[in-house]
């Protein structure tokens, strides 16, 4: 009991540090920085290299690692985060930081590989006895360091000129700018300070937890949950939230199962969101609101005209239909199938993100629900596959309804963060529920999809199934999006207040968009399971969710072709350039960040725009003004 509490407080101390980093960046810039956890890993692994590989003394190595990580954070912030602040709406900023998280994880993967690392304890492994309890010496380091960091941060923020300026930016950036405060500098400073705090947290924790390249996601989510429990933007709340979370997780791990400890965190978060949306020490509503304030970003409208769109899509479908017959593509047929399956999932995400403007970081979780429901029912209960798919859809619908009900009344980017937390919950349930799901090693022996006695057992048949399904779903969405439903979603994305004033039921439409995205993801997850005859948690985990966001943004959101371009690019390219697979994560991160920076309409959007300009140019040369007719509406 006492040992559990101590363990929890130690873990909680580190969560508190992370949460402080979140709170700092949030207060100064109004953005939830999902990259926070990556700095923990970066700090700890830098120290590992300096200490173990280069043989530096521990103190020097620790200092070096913190300095390096802070510098890296400052550069990263200056190059990507800070310039985007003025241009991107809040929800895009959230995705940008998710991209940064992927980017740093990719870097770590390249430099340190994927194996777990452990630092030696700072003062030896022998525990000391206090009141009959054996306590690892590292515990004192953690408590001490956390206390020192908290005190220093408090001093910096309340007693120094820089602290005053930081807080001024937090209160009102416009006024701060008018008063001559360098808001850019302060934003960079907060980002670097957060990186530094993260690095310190990672370094003191590394001796008692092993870290690997993708541990950053876990730290980010834990830190975020801590700060959400405590109250977004409150420093006291961050510390209290961190400690509560740490203790709760240790209790869950000690008394239920270590695999469910993540689940506890998420349940705590959802309960907190339901009963105290502003957290225990919340500082009122968030400064920015949850609509993607497109007013700041002038994007214009990218759209293919009706005639060319029909011609082009018919051509693409015909091309895809004859592809397998040529025999040239047999080697990549499996990748084409995966592309098609993921396309369905990302298409759903597009309805939610591209059209309704709500961010979901948990699309993978709905794939997991669809996949596992169908697979478990088929393997363990001998259900016909189609019934399993339906069961998955129903379950996904129920979960999406529940999540939107919980987050509906809340302002801010809570839906995005709740979906991320939900993804973690689903992940931990799947990993934990060994008997049913096969745990981390996955579920094997899933039969082929069979419909009315026909088995889609060969890649050939699967390919055509996915193609047909994709075409049908795209056609349905085309109808929906060009009608009043789609217009209502776009209006909500553009301006909720004005939409409500026109009698548009915002809650209902958001819920519908979320439901559509969940159903699409569920279908895609089921297909995944039946295609591979195997399903493991990491096929539908959080990295998958983030990857789907990247695919959508890179391809181009708010258009139905965008997802196709994005998914094809990110699925087929790594397949073609196999030796570069190591760089995939890094490339995804960089692509996402760069797209936000230089090509906000996505690749599809850019291409269409270029083509359009070329046509215009030809039309102008021939002195024929482009005809605008009734059908050119879309």
């Amino acid at each position: 009991m006492a040992a559990t509490i101590i363990g929890g407080l130690l873990q909680g101390g580190v969560f508190a540090l992370l949460a402080l980093g979140f709170a700092l960046v949030y207060r100064v810039t109004g953005v939830v920085n999902l990259c926070q956890g990556a700095f923990c890993v970066l700090g700890a692994l830098s120290m590992y290299t300096l200490e173990q590989t280069l043989g530096w003394p521990a103190a020097l190595a620790a200092t070096g690692a913190v300095v390096l990580t802070t510098l890296f954070g400052a550069l990263l912030g200056l190059a990507t985060f800070v310039p985007a602040l003025n241009r991107l709406p809040n929800s895009s900023m959230l995705m940008l930081t998710a991209g940064l998280l992927t980017l740093v994880e990719g870097l770590v993967l390249i430099f340190w590989g994927s194996q777990p690392f452990n630092l030696p304890a700072f003062s030896g492994e022998a525990p000391v006895q206090i009141f009959g309890l054996r306590v690892a010496t590292q515990a004192f380091w953690i408590v001490g360091v956390v206390a020192v960091v908290v005190c220093l941060l408090w001093y910096l923020l309340t007693r120094t000129m820089i602290g005053k300026q930081l807080r001024a930016c937090a209160e009102n950036p416009m006024a701060a700018r008018l008063m001559g405060i360098n808001v850019t500098l302060m934003s960079t400073l907060s980002f670097s300070l957060a990186a530094m705090i993260g690095a310190i947290g990672g370094i003191v924790l590394a001796p008692i937890t092993s870290l690997q390249f993708d541990s950053g996601t876990f730290f980010t989510i834990s830190g975020f949950i801590a700060v959400a429990i405590g109250g977004m933007g409150s420093f006291v709340g961050a510390i209290v939230g961190g400690l509560i979370l740490g203790v709760a997780e240790q209790f869950a791990a000690g008394y239920i199962s270590s695999l469910f400890s993540n689940g506890i965190a998420v349940i705590l978060l959802l309960v907190a969101l339901m009963f105290r949306p502003n957290g225990l020490f919340g500082v009122g509503g968030s400064r920015r609101v949850d609509v993607r304030d497109e007013q700041q970003v002038h994007l214009g409208i990218v759209r293919i005209q009706n005639g060319p769109a029909v011609t082009l899509s018919t051509a693409i479908v015909l091309l895809l239909a004859v592809l397998p017959w040529t025999g040239w593509f047999d080697s990549i047929l499996p990748s084409l199938i995966i592309t098609g399956i993921l396309f369905i999932g990302v298409l759903g995400l597009d309805v939610l993100m591209g059209f309704a403007g709500q961010v979901s970081l948990g699309q993978g979780a709905f794939m997991a629900i669809g996949g596992y429901a169908a697979a478990i029912l088929a393997v363990q209960y001998d259900w016909p596959p189609l019934m399993g798919v339906l069961a998955g859809i129903v379950l996904s619908l129920a979960c999406s309804m529940g999540l939107s009900l919980v987050t509906m009344r809340l302002r801010g980017i809570y839906l995005a963060l709740a979906t991320l937390a939900f993804a973690m919950l689903v992940d931990s349930l799947i990993t934990g529920w060994m008997d049913l799901t096969g745990g981390p090693s996955g579920l094997v022996g899933i039969p082929a999809l069979s419909v009315g006695g026909y088995d889609f057992a060969t890649p050939f048949s699967m390919y055509y199934l996915v193609l047909a399904l994709g075409v049908v779903l795209v056609l349905l969405l085309t109808g929906l999006m060009r009608s009043s439903f789609g217009r209502a979603l776009k209006a909500i994305r553009a301006d909720q207040l004005a939409a409500a004033a026109l009698d548009i039921n915002i809650g209902r439409y958001k819920m519908a968009a979320f439901a559509i995205s969940a159903v699409f993801a569920s279908i895609s997850g089921s297909l995944f399971a039946f295609n591979f005859h195997y399903l493991a948690p990491d096929m539908v985990g959080i990295p998958r969710s983030l990857e789907m966001v990247t695919m959508l943004v890179v391809g181009g959101e708010g258009m139905l072709v965008g997802p196709l371009v994005g998914v094809a690019l990110l699925t087929l390219l790594p397949e073609v350039f196999q030796p570069l697979a190591l760089y995939k994560t890094l490339a995804e991160g960089i692509l996402l960040v760069m797209t936000f920076q230089y090509c906000p309409a996505g690749l599809a959007g850019l291409t269409i725009k270029q083509l359009h300009d070329v046509f215009e140019w030809f039309a102008a040369r021939k002195h024929i003004s482009p005809r605008i007719t009734q059908e050119d509406l879309r």
Binding site: G479, L480, S484, A491, A494, I504, D632
Partner: protein, 260 residues
């Protein structure tokens, strides 16, 4: 229906220490065009925000068609047939002018989303009717040539006009317009005046906030003058033009004293 369209009874609103609206009462007669005028910061926009419940009022009551609007959300108020426009035009970016107008007609769409997805005849019919009406209104407002342009590419004045058209698509019973003529040139203002009169003659009650006095005086049936959160005068345009308190408020005398 008989009785006034809108009754505002003893409404007050404080923002912290600032009293933006203090004990304001008035009625908007059905089928009339009521103008709300007053110097900058008088509380005109705040009054509109209170009527559409963007924030709750401190005391008093607001009745629309005889029913209190207390506690209704802005969407529910819109559903009752009370539509407003905003002082800074809030057209939807990333949508064309026509699409913007079509969104306004959203509440008249009866077809189910599933019918829309399948592009069934019922959905198609809805869409065609909506489109025909939208084109008619755009023609009336002289915006037809911008039909397929992105709404945010329009000049500010046309955006305000577009907002009026969009509001009209909801077939409101009462239309609240916040400075629709701001940013319009003289000929556009004349067009707007004609449009507003035509709308009123169709039986739609209009209340508008406007700084352009000649517009107000030429089309309004009733004028209400607000200054520092209080009504200092109301009546038909002729009476208002002669009212000494109104002249004082506009000439920069301290309006607050007349209020007490």
């Amino acid at each position: 229906m008989i009785g006034p369209a809108l009754v505002v009874a003893n409404i007050s609103k404080r923002f912290g220490g600032v009293t933006a609206i203090s004990d304001v009462s008035f009625e908007v007669p059905r089928g009339c065009l009521t103008a709300l005028i007053g110097p900058n910061g008088a509380g005109k926009t705040t009054l509109f925000n209170l009527v559409t419940n963007l924030f709750p009022w401190t005391s008093g009551d607001i009745l629309f068609n005889g029913a209190s609007l207390k506690g209704s959300s802005s969407r529910q108020i819109a559903a009752l047939g009370l539509t407003r426009t905003f002082q800074t035009a809030r057209v939807f970016p990333r949508m064309t002018v026509l699409e913007n107008v079509l969104v306004g007609g959203h509440r008249h769409v009866r077809s189910h989303p599933i019918a829309q997805a399948l592009w069934l005849p019922s959905a198609r019919r809805d869409e065609m009717q909506l489109q025909a009406r939208a084109e008619e209104f755009l023609e009336l407002a002289g915006l037809t040539r911008y039909c397929h342009e992105p709404a945010t590419d329009l000049p500010m004045g046309s955006q305000k006009m577009l907002e009026v058209v969009r509001a009209l698509m909801t077939t409101p019973q009462l239309l609240l317009l916040d400075e629709p003529a701001a940013g319009l040139n003289d000929s556009e203002t004349a067009e707007l005046a004609a449009l507003l009169c035509a709308i009123r003659d169709c039986g739609v009650t209009i209340m508008l906030v406007e700084h352009n006095m000649s517009l107000v005086m030429s089309i309004a049936d009733q004028v209400i003058v607000l200054d520092v959160g209080c009504i200092i005068a109301s009546g038909n345009p002729k009476e208002i033009r002669r009212d000494s308190r109104v002249i004082a408020a506009y000439m920069g005398n301290d309006g607050g004293q007349t209020c007490a």
